[in-house]
Symmetry: C2
Subunit: 214 residues, 2 copies
Amino acid sequence: MTLSVQKRREKQKAELRSELVAAAHKLVQEEGYEGLTIRKLAKRVGYAPMSVYSYFADKQDILFALAEDAFETLARRIEEHPADDPVEALKAVMTEYAAFGLGNPNEYRTVFMTEKTRLPEGRSYEDMEESNPAMKVLISRVEACVAAGRLKGDPRAIATMLWTVGHGTISLLITFPFYPFGDPEAYVKRMCNFMMASLSEQDIPPLTETPVDC
Amino acid sequence: MTLSVQKRREKQKAELRSELVAAAHKLVQEEGYEGLTIRKLAKRVGYAPMSVYSYFADKQDILFALAEDAFETLARRIEEHPADDPVEALKAVMTEYAAFGLGNPNEYRTVFMTEKTRLPEGRSYEDMEESNPAMKVLISRVEACVAAGRLKGDPRAIATMLWTVGHGTISLLITFPFYPFGDPEAYVKRMCNFMMASLSEQDIPPLTETPVDC
DNA sequence: ATCTCTTTTCGTACATGTACGATGCAACGT
DNA sequence: ACGTTGCATCGTACATGTACGAAAAGAGAT
């Protein structure tokens, strides 16, 4: 029964890992994001500091795990959102996404604004789409708009452009809170409406490998 | 001559500071961005590590100083750019800006993607516009487009929206190089052209403090 | 039961940013 | 000339992430 032993080991390891994530979560709740240190986390679960590295490659890996939890909450909130009109449904993705980013700047930052030295255990962008539930629902709602004739063009390209603008909006609002964007929510809605109005009047070609002249 | 003494002191200090910046620059050239440490920098100029803190508040401050140099180069490159048509001149700002960001990801990151705990010695967004030469030229070229009747609406709002999209484009390209945007330059041009086409068909209202419903 | 090999745990050590306070020096008031 | 005051310099110390390798624990073969 070598296999079953292997499995048990892996399950144990996964359990300990999520115990660590839970402890990290609590630590962040109690002492703030910068209060999360390897040593404190280890002490919480009764480990030696270096033992944490049996479960996480480095500190970033822990932060990613925390952020992943948060993003799952986001995906759930998006799904729960009413979606009568396909365009409104798509707008809801962007506004929920923005609300999440503004409400969870640390998590947003670790996922979307930190250097990706190594992609976390995955290998291609497909992992990113798989692992980022928000991206999946974004594409599917773009496809719904295209199917309904409300948008025209390549769904992936449209989704990528929406992502680009949404990310630009959120990350600037996070990084420069003192810049006079005006009301953050109003600015998010402005960009969202602007994009939908603009996209609905153009046929968006697929993303291409070859450079194109101006 | 109390004043002259004061001035001399300040000048000396400024000189030493730029000597430090120069040394930091050389260090980065030679050993890469993460090779820049306070201790190495201090050793280069024959100081004790802690003496560096007489000239910089912290390490971020040094990185900002390095980035400022780089951004001045960017501003110069933009100014040098041919600008027959006002719309083309505006597009040139975005493409040059993007080329700079993609070519100097570290500097771009320190200025636009790191947490702003304390704004560097300044106090309001005006400092940011003053200190960021690229922003100044962006606004002035937007104003030129509005004056020429090629764009309609509030120049600051238009510039901010362009900045938002440009930043989203650059920062995603920097952060997710493996995502299939296609050719980076092509993607930059796509977003640039898309924005100009879209903006030219809408009247952009000023940024507002009050939230607006959808 | 004993030995071997793998995996998990952890002790030690190091580089780094930086807080705190001491030291020395230069300008100034008397 | 002399004490005072302010400031530049720096020595020491600490928290932190983490590399390296040792110790311990567990599984399988004999």
